[in-house]
């Protein structure tokens, strides 16, 4: 029989689906959302895309901090006379139904004026009347229908910056001017000395001059700035010959029309700038819904509950927490500061701080560190440090997070730019000197013609188009890179360092096997029934793994925190938990996670939880080992050493118990030995190493959830494609080099005309676009071939 799918969220409904109007729901939450939608004429939601929803989560008390007007003030974008606008990030946005329902929020609450979804960014901009509905009510409403916004500390102090649209304006201006100038210069290409042309050419020329002014002084200003910076730091980048070309084009054309020598090169000038900006625009592919800049602020809440001296609760901004404050941390909340547990029993999930997958139990009096997530009942803690001084957050005070990686990297284009500039200048001077001897009147003509025709438009376009296209191809294959420079860096790496937990192991399905005496069917049934009542993650895992059993009511059930659980029927009893708890002393598998079991106080055996390695880890490492230096850097204990040694190529160094800071230092030491290091990690504990490495890649099971600051995000499904991706980047570099050769050929042809003093505007106007377009076609075709190859490789694995 087919599984019953929830009408709202598409999850498996299990054995007892909730039924309403012939529709099945997996939980009351989903049913409630359906009721809200159908009662408000919004059931079109389900017609657009079936099962698009998410079950609403429990949010009781979670958004109480939105009562505080100080906090609200910082979050909203606009506030005037009761009309407020807020931009909320909603991770669940994934389909057209989501867009539709969020843009119809006003049907659910009259206080909401309008809402607009930005799908690529996964945000919704809501305009609402704060007299009728408060921000808190709005957030609660959205949470109730399964679209819970994600509000973190990052939103709090984000400066309300306006989007930089400079490039769009520049491209618009250059395109506008290019079109008009082409139009005006066209008559003079063919008809020289025609009567009407002679009459009006002055007007045409000065109009072209007028159109080229904003192109030179506004659209092309980045090239002048960059060239100036390059000269000042004595670094010959590719922008120097470009800026020189633009400047010479403009000055010579102006002089030509002033003295009526010719029509000038305004068409080439505007075309050049337009093509160059087009390349820049193409390169600027960003995955706006992925952030490569996250630090701890994206994980931290804005406010927590503080218990005041007279035992009342109040919401306080996390930056205001001082040492000595008493805080209340509820189930699922994050501990924002280093603190001492004063009340309650904590089970803390440090997975994104340390990479350890199992939660840690803490009792009153223990120290708890910032970044852990409390996953059982509410606890009380006393802060011993402020947020910025806590152990985790101190990592971000390391200098690597301040420096800009891109600044120090010399791209391939800049590398060739240096030689190119020198060569062009030499040719320009030598040919001018020769003409000075042959025919001095043509010297200036030849000198400027060389600089114009050698303007490396095609070279400057090769890298943006190749890499921009690669970026898109990688994106389609689940490999998201921060920028095109990352591809160049990736092509150069010679060392790859991997984190273990969450990177080469998967969090989803752990391998569990049983070791010990065989269990009778009664024992199995009792075991399953006992586990049913427990909420411990290991119990849940074990429960899911064991075969279905009939439900037997337990006579006795007791949970011993941090030790184990005990269940009993009338005649039998079973104990599950740590070795000591079940009365077992022979500890064999100390390093791996295990659960021991005894029946009627007789030791039976234990379940051992093994790390499940990602599919293809073995092959990936084997193929990589021949090319790259590999190492494993794990925050975990050495329990998996034996397994890893078996799995990985011989001699792969393994390092265990690495703290976040020592991972960073490890990478730094390698770099000091002139190694180009790629770090592959997943958690916040790798953040330092990811930032320090030449290329930091974060592995993510779900690219929509947060990953630490990095240069690229790799979808965990495609882990085994990592090496083919690296090979593809190297091929992309080869493509760029071939394009350089191609464009140099055009330059040689152009230089022949320039050096011999026969450069006509029409030749420049043909040669420049021709070389640019052929480069664009060449790079696009070759990268697409590369992408097709990647795709066929990937499908051959499946």
């Amino acid at each position: 029989m087919d599984k019953v799918r929830c009408y709202h969220c598409g999850d498996d409904c299990g054995k007892n689906p909730i039924n309403l109007k012939d529709k099945n729901f997996c939980c009351v939450g989903c049913k409630t959302v359906y009721e809200i939608f159908s009662n408000n004429d919004l059931s079109y939601y389900y017609d657009l895309q079936s099962a698009a929803g998410a079950p609403p989560k429990e949010v009781e008390g979670k958004y109480d901090f939105l009562d505080s007007s100080n906090i609200v003030e910082k979050l909203i974008e606009f506030n005037d006379n009761g009309i407020q606008i807020i931009n909320l990030y909603i991770p669940h946005i994934h389909c057209s139904s989501c867009i539709w329902i969020l843009e119809n929020l006003n049907k659910l609450n009259k206080g909401i004026n309008s809402s607009q979804v930005d799908f690529p960014k996964k945000t919704v901009r809501v305009t609402f009347n704060s007299h009728k509905v408060s921000l808190k009510e709005l957030v609660l409403l959205m949470s109730r229908i399964g679209y819970e916004p994600y509000i973190s500390l990052d939103d709090f102090d984000r400066a309300k910056k306006s989007k930089d649209r400079g490039l769009s304006y520049k491209l618009g201006i250059a395109g506008f001017a290019f079109g008009n100038v082409m139009f005006l210069s066209f008559p003079e290409y063919f008809e020289v000395g025609e009567f009407w042309l002679e009459q009006f050419k002055g007007v045409f020329r000065w109009l072209m001059f007028a159109f080229s002014l904003p192109v030179v002084f506004y659209a092309a200003q980045d090239y002048f700035i960059s060239a100036y910076k390059g000269i000042r730091s004595r670094f010959l980048n590719i922008d120097i010959p470009i800026a020189l070309g633009i400047l010479v084009l403009f000055l010579r054309s102006t002089v030509e029309i002033i003295f009526d020598w010719g029509s000038g090169f305004f068409d080439s000038l505007t075309g050049l700038v337009f093509f160059l900006l087009l390349g820049k625009f193409f390169q600027q592919k960003t995955y706006s819904y992925l952030s490569f800049e996250r630090d701890y602020k994206s994980y931290f809440p804005i406010a927590v509950t503080r218990i005041t001296s007279n035992n009342t609760e109040e919401n306080t901004q996390v930056y205001d927490i001082k040492a000595g404050d008493r805080l209340l941390i509820r189930n699922g909340e994050l501990i924002p500061v280093d603190a001492i547990l004063t009340n309650g029993n904590a089970r803390i999930d440090y997975s994104f701080v340390t990479g350890e997958s199992e939660p840690v139990e803490k009792i009153s009096g223990d120290k708890v560190y910032a970044g852990g997530k409390q996953i059982s009942s509410a606890i009380e803690i006393e802060a011993i440090k402020s947020v910025s001084q806590s152990y985790l957050t101190q990592l971000w005070s390391n200098a690597v997070f301040q420096q800009d990686k891109s600044g120090s990297f010399q791209t391939l284009t800049d590398g060739i730019g240096k030689r190119f500039t020198i060569a062009v200048l030499i040719i320009a001077f030598v040919s001018s000197i020769i003409w000075l001897i042959l025919d001095p009147s043509k010297t200036i003509n030849v000198f400027t013609a060389v600089l114009i025709i050698a303007c490396p438009c095609a070279i400057a376009l090769a890298a943006p188009f190749t890499l921009g296209n690669m970026l898109r191809i990688f994106g389609r294959h689940g490999f998201y890179l921060r920028d095109t420079q990352t591809i160049e860096q990736l092509a150069q790496i010679d060392t790859a360092i991997f984190d273990k937990t969450g990177t080469i192991t998967t969090a989803e399905k752990g391998n569990v096997y049983y070791e010990g005496l065989e269990l009778t069917s009664e024992e199995e049934s009792l075991l399953k029934n006992t586990l049913r009542s427990s909420n411990h993650p290991l119990s849940r895992k074990l429960y899911d793994m064991l075969a279905e059993q009939n439900i037997v009511p337990l006579e006795e059930y007791e949970e011993y925190l941090g030790q184990g659980i005990k269940g009993a029927t009338v005649k039998d009893s079973v104990k599950i938990g740590s070795a000591a708890f079940v009365g077992h002393s022979d500890i064999k598998n100390r390093d791996s996670t295990s659960v021991h079991l005894s029946s009627n106080d007789q030791y039976k055996g234990c379940f051992i939880f093994q790390n499940q390695y990602r599919e293809g880890v073995e092959e990936t490492f084997k193929t990589m080992a021949s090319d790259l230096e590999l190492a494993i850097l794990s925050g975990d204990n050495a329990g998996e050493r034996a397994n890893l040694t078996k799995l990985l190529p011989e001699g792969t160094p393994l390092y265990f118990n690495q703290k976040p800071d020592s991972k960073l230092q490890f990478i730094k030491t390698l770099q000091d030995q002139n190694k180009k290091v790629m770090m592959v990690g997943d958690g916040l504990n790798d953040a330092g190493a990811l930032a320090q490495s030449n290329v930091g890649i974060a592995i993510s099971e779900n690219v929509n959830v947060f990953s630490p600051a990095c240069d690229g995000i790799l979808d965990a499904k495609n882990f085994k494609s990592l090496y083919p991706y690296i090979l593809a980047t190297r091929k992309a570099i080869k493509i760029i080099k071939l394009s350089f050769m191609l464009s140099l050929m055009y330059n040689v042809v152009g230089l022949y005309f320039a050096v011999t003093g026969q450069l006509q505007p029409v030749i420049a106007a043909i040669l420049m676009p021709l070389s640019s377009i052929s480069i664009v076609i060449f790079t696009t075709v070759t990268t697409n071939l590369l992408g097709r190859k990647l795709k066929s490789e990937q499908s051959s694995w499946k």
């Binding site: 009662n39 539709w100 690529p120 618009g172």
Partner: protein, 68 residues
């Protein structure tokens, strides 16, 4: 004055008007999100008020029927 001046002026004025429209559209953020509008335009038109009342009535009737 030759007619060509008039034609040139006109053509440039028209071009500049469109150019200004482009700049204004960019400024207002029309090109910031190039994906969502393509989905939005495919949604059914807003339900007309009367029909929504009708469905309400039907829903009410259904409720009453269920009560009975």
């Amino acid at each position: 004055m030759s007619v060509i001046y008039l034609l040139l002026t006109l053509s440039i004025v028209v071009a500049v008007i469109f150019f200004a429209a482009f700049i204004m559209a960019t400024k207002s953020g029309q090109f910031d999100d190039s994906y969502t509008p393509s989905v939005r335009m495919l949604f059914e038109d807003e339900l007309v008020k009367s029909s929504s009342k009708k469905t309400e009535k039907i829903a009410n009737q259904k409720d009453e029927n269920q009560k009975l």
